[in-house]
Symmetry: D3
Subunit: 238 residues, 6 copies
């Protein structure tokens, strides 16, 4: 029995609200249950110096949490003077996930920076971030397209993410915080809308898992991602 | 004629929405027109070491801006590795403003940390922050009161803030971004609900101002603060 | 009765000694009683990149305290690895105050950096810094003028600063350290020689103040500044 | 055809040399072909404060690269003033991998710090680090055991790691640098000696991969890990 | 012929002015010609944690330069966020030099921190710092003695420092800036009043020097130090 | 009697192994007894901006210690976020020592960066580093010569370093760790193969030393350096 009463293969209520940051070229407020992340996509018509002159674009991401996204206040990283290892790991993951579905030649020598700021954290902030980031990215690219900043469509596919884990011996989909702290195994899956894998990160800090268990988690992930893909397409009216 | 079409003594639409951050002891989403700040108040039953053993509490504040609160992306301070001078100046101001209405002995040896994170910036982020922070603070203190963490009411008064400036030769109330960048003089006023001054910060980077002009700005500020005080009391149902 | 025996509207003995740093283009050792600040003005014929190509100059300031300027040793900021919020707030104030009296077009694409290093701190280090900085700035501009680096005189006015506060219920001029720690209200005023306001910063961390009290502080400030202006002009022989 | 001429399921020559750092409680120089990592394990009979008083030990890891481990000189992180995101990600992975096979209660309130310093980098530095770290860890625990610092054996299993990837369309085992830069997909697998999964990290920055491809990579990983496990046991004479 | 017209074995005019920093327990403004350093000695009746409980005191030093101590403005280390390697090297040298003449048991569990801030730099700032620091240290110890904070006299000897170098082929005493930049060899000598060596640091970045040349530099240093020792004793009236 | 049983003028076993870092243009694993340092020399055909356009090259050095080079684990400087004062002092010394034997005009506008990473520390890491760095430097220059990157030979001489000290009253050559911690006086000597001094750094934190003692240390150093020079020439086959 899950704390939330959900079935083992049941996702939390997911919402994707577009255009929540009027100043950004693309934005999305994504919720996976109580987990809420504000994502913006910023277009720049210049590139970092190491990327210039190759006719290719770039997509990068940054991640942060508001201090009271969490049950007790988390120290502000700007005050601490550096981003934690966890933050860097997550933002690198978000960036890689999005780049996997972007045709960099079609994007041209432009950069899109994704910012994911967690308003409330209840497990799955990185998977919600990726799922919402795709929507913000698509809107930013539409914005570019309207202004003739890109010719062909740089988006080759959609991309979304979900976590799965083994909670009290049972594989479950989309872990919330209560499940996450107790899970023996925790895995994050990033898949394209066409069902291909972009990232898989499985961790067993407590009890190593078998290949059979991993297979079950992958099955759950495929189900969750296919639901998220429908929601993304509905939100984007595509 | 103001860019927004407002009268010279007319504030923007101000809203104060409580309980927007379910994990925080107090919270408020404050809007001054397009400027929106998410404020949380976090209660800790411990103090920084330099404050201990005197029977007095402490209230402090931190301030940040999401990267796309602004028209072009602002670099994340956590990535830059430090808070800017502007950020530190603002968060020190917010902390002082709130402490001016708190009876530290009544608060007891507890600390309340205010976090102000700007979701959208259109001028007046520090004055909106202070105005919303009072509401979040009041809710956090109510939360403490319910749990018998304080005996007497530590709040001696309300506090709110507003900016005024001289825009194209005319003193105006509550500058938005378009006015702010062009104003000859910019002043921030922090007043209590009973009409006393807590902070006044007036700056004339372009054209020094006369005492008469300052008097006119003070008059506007008193009007604006009295309106904000009504809104705060309405929001808090007091 | 003030600890120093001064009248409520009496400034401390103020001295302005020029040319104390032989290697600098302008310099001034300013004393407000025991508070002593060594100010230098450094001319550079280049600008920071964000300011270039507009035909305008720039004036900026940095502030520091020697570790034993204070009664107990203050940690060196170079060792701490960063400037405190207080330091940044003060140096931003000094920079703004000077820029208010400089015609940036007349200065041309040159930068003047003001360094204020406190040798002894007895209250009013920021007001002494501004007052002395004007003298160092004027000498640096004279140095430029002799070398034909500026054509017209970039100085539109003089500028000086003084603090006022309410000490044991009485408004007093030019607070020393003993008064400063005890004052209910502390305000810093930056005025031009012609009597206009450049900055006003009033703070009531303990007891909010009335508009009438602020008026009295402003009156004291105007008196103090007019005395400082005479001293600046005498020092500069203008 | 692989650049090295290896078969698709053939590992590079792997060596595990113990006791290479005489001052450390455990150490191992591990080579996966040209990739060489010096691993030390340091025993401390104290814990970081957040871990104390629970009767549990802790294992953590740090990772670094000598500047000329790489073909062109890599900037020293101590000079840069911080560890890169990549470094933090790797050292977090190493720590988690080892903790998965350690019984923290049996370890008691002791900490073991693993340091992995790459002498030469030719792909697979993180997998070589984990594989060698197990050997160093085992020696450090043996050292503790001889001194009666642990009662029961805290090691529940062995652990090793290997990378696999899809290189020019073919799944291959243990990518070297030439393969790594060109691979469409790169996955790191951490498995126990008993064949269970501890970590799986698969990334497709260029071309998303299918579940079938992932299955093939897992099969290769299982083969590689079983060979590494034999080498670890031989080296440790168990 | 030296730029200053001095004889090869002639020091610059040296002055040692005591009690220049009224808030410090000991202080000295030391000048070696145009080089001027403000030295303070701060007494603390506590120790850094690593030094506690051994019945021994500690003497440490910090060094800094005001931005316009130099001909062109030097960047403030507090702004840069760290002390340069040169600064750290110098302050470590000053600390070691003073500790060599202090009986740490007699000092008891107290710490004296020496701060050397260069007001004007014309070569020899580190040797002037050490020479002046001894005077400030002696005054701080006298201050402690008056307050019965030490029983026996912790000062075992005096200590002073001077530079020598080979300038245009000739060994010269007490290099000023013009000589320093051109000298083939530059050596700093720290000697006790009784003529023993505490530190010797000789560097030949351009032309390696012979043992015979080093002997000549040592002879000059002994002459210079004996003169400095007389000046120190005169200043301290001992 | 020395802890190692060596005669007072007897060096530890010294080995110089070339080409230990295949990716570097020059490299040397140097051992002075148990002290082992891995040195690499990296050639870059560009210069730092301040050095460009003068037709001169540059040689610089960086120094680090692996955490378990020492008996108890030393904190990694990359984690601490900065290099210690000791590290900076040592790497500046290594750089100066090598520059003293390099003809910068012959080197042309190229930079060679020396990295010295201590694998095991048993006293004398800086002297071993310099001695090994010369060998790595010579190999890097030979590498450049083969590629016609330099015309004339930029090496004017060899350079090596050794420490001497007064241990239990006796001057001894090449202090190991046990001697180093106990020595009254510790001096490092850097000499060219032709017997000239490049650097001399003598320190007496405990007991100041006499000129006669320094003479004896210099004699020992000359003996040690002449032995090291033979070993360097043998290793380089010159």
């Amino acid at each position: 029995m899950r704390p939330s009463g959900r079935d083992s293969s049941e996702m939390r209520a997911v919402t994707l609200e577009r255009n929540v940051a009027p100043k950004a070229e693309g934005s999305c407020l994504v919720a996976f249950g109580s987990t809420r992340v504000l994502v913006t996509a910023s277009v720049e018509t210049s590139l970092p110096s190491w990327r210039r002159g190759q006719g290719l674009g770039w997509v990068t991401a940054e991640y942060g949490m508001l201090p009271r996204a969490t049950g007790t206040r988390t120290r502000r990283e700007a005050t601490a003077g550096k981003q934690s290892g966890r933050t860097q790991e997550i933002q690198r993951l978000i960036g890689r996930s999005l780049r996997a579905v972007v045709d960099m030649a079609a994007l041209g020598e432009n950069q899109i920076t994704i910012d994911c700021d967690v308003l409330e954290a209840d497990g799955g902030t990185r998977t919600a971030s990726i799922t919402g980031a795709y929507v913000a990215l698509a809107d930013a690219i539409a914005w570019m397209s309207e202004r003739k900043l890109v010719k062909a469509n740089p988006l080759r596919d959609t991309v979304a993410a979900v976590s799965c884990g083994i909670y009290r011996g049972t594989p479950v989909l989309d872990l919330d915080y209560l499940e996450d702290v107790e899970a023996e195994t925790d895995a994050n899956f990033v898949l394209t809308g066409s069902g291909k894998f972009v990232e898989i990160q499985g961790t067993a800090e407590q009890t190593p898992f078998s290949r059979q268990e991993l297979d079950m988690l992958m099955g759950l992930a495929e189900k969750g991602i296919s639901e998220l893909t429908v929601l993304q397409k509905t939100a984007l009216e595509i």
